[in-house]
Symmetry: C2
Subunit: 250 residues, 2 copies
């Protein structure tokens, strides 16, 4: 049966790529995905790399499905986990809309360490309670929906992890999100800006909701907003850990 792999490459550090993903990647003829992720994969000279821009997920997914149906061994790759704002949803959306033979493919999604898990681990245990994971981008959903979701998340007491917090085209939305959250949560709630965790250009900033500024994030940053049950532990060297209590008082 023709196969298609959808593979999460992890945060960037090769030590965080699972053996399962590595084994799958070792057998492919074609790599499909956003250029920088395709470039990151260690593969032999015969493997064809189909890197593309990050706005063409559905086209890219269809191309991968066509090649898989033609008998190529294709891996669609994403950073982190492909199911979390990666390529997995686009591939299945293409399958749903596509010809019947795509449904007969053996499609295997190989999970990876997502950016939110890597960032949380670097910070301490900020996801210790219930949490939500959102994309702040309004490319695929209306901005009022984003705001409504932030409000529900804060009222629910979820720790909030934000993907795609800021881009050149959306410089102000993260600041607006902080303004909205400041109306729902105390100002001393911890906020973390975790940039490129696990890569050479990693940078971590811990602050509070009162102090948090949109400008502290870029496209490679994961923003974590705590709850009143998220605590800061100061360390002797001046650094700190954050953790969220598992216990919620009555």
């Amino acid at each position: 049966m023709n196969m298609l792999f959808i593979i999460g490459l992890g945060p960037g550090n090769p030590d965080q790529l699972t053996p399962e993903a590595q084994t799958a990647l070792a057998g492919v003829t074609d790599l499909v995905g956003y250029g920088p992720y395709v470039a990151r994969v260690q593969a032999g000279p015969d493997v064809v790399r189909h890197g593309s821009d990050n706005r063409v997920e559905l086209d890219r997914a269809r191309h991968a499905l066509e090649m898989a149906c033609a008998g190529r061994r294709v891996a669609v790759v994403s950073g982190g986990d492909a199911g979390v704002f990666g390529m997995a949803s686009a591939v299945f959306e293409a399958v749903k809309q596509g010809p019947p033979e795509w449904r007969a493919l053996d499609i295997r999604v190989i999970p990876g360490v997502s950016a939110v898990l890597a960032a949380a681990a670097r910070i301490g245990a900020p996801l210790g309670g219930d949490f939500c994971v959102m994309s702040l981008s309004d490319n695929l959903k209306p901005w009022p929906v984003v705001c409504e979701r932030l409000r529900h998340a804060a009222q629910a007491g979820f720790v909030i992890a934000l993907y795609n917090p800021r881009s050149h085209a959306r410089p102000d939305q993260l600041g607006e999100a902080f303004d909205l959250l400041r109306t729902e949560l105390p100002g001393d709630v911890p906020v973390a800006f975790a940039r490129a965790i696990g890569r050479a250009d990693e940078r971590l900033l811990l602050t509070t909701l009162a102090q948090a500024r949109g400008e502290d994030a870029d496209m490679s940053t994961l923003v974590l907003i705590g709850t009143p049950l998220t605590h800061r532990i100061a360390r002797p060297d001046g650094s700190a850990w954050l953790y969220t209590s598992r216990r919620v008082p009555a």
Copy 2:
């Protein structure tokens, strides 16, 4: 400097344990955690295994911190990712309450593939949109808080991933949760019961919110509740994939 590792072992399949975790485990003298997870680690005969019951997280964390301060090389282990309803939060809570020397430890949290990511990958791409991850247990938080969070999550349009959906001591709460969600969401919203994904006794059931029953879950099940944007793709062999659309209409 004395060190302490907190390590996520992944869902159970050794192929899903990262090289980073494997390297860290290779250097330890002591393993601390819930018995079945401690037993799962491949380690030499000199490694001391401190397996314990699953209700004593804080005691277990303190024991690990004490041993680390005494110069032992200790790993606290959890299934999946230690930051997601695993041991990481308990360790930092113990640090916060403990003696100053615990804050000077070099504590390294090694992320893992969490159960929710493994289950989602097995199902297709159910986490394609925004989502939340909750523990349904009321051992550490009041049941009304759980219900309020479910309501916010449904109203926000989050896919909902439920850890600890059911136990012998809490046989009826998952059914109550489904009843509550049926008042907020259409009955045809997809629901998945993903049991022990990645292990030999794996079992997957796809159904709808209207049909979902608490009895379909046990302690090893991860329950995923979709949204009106979660779609089912029927396959020629009778199985199906679920995915959640990345696009939210206005």
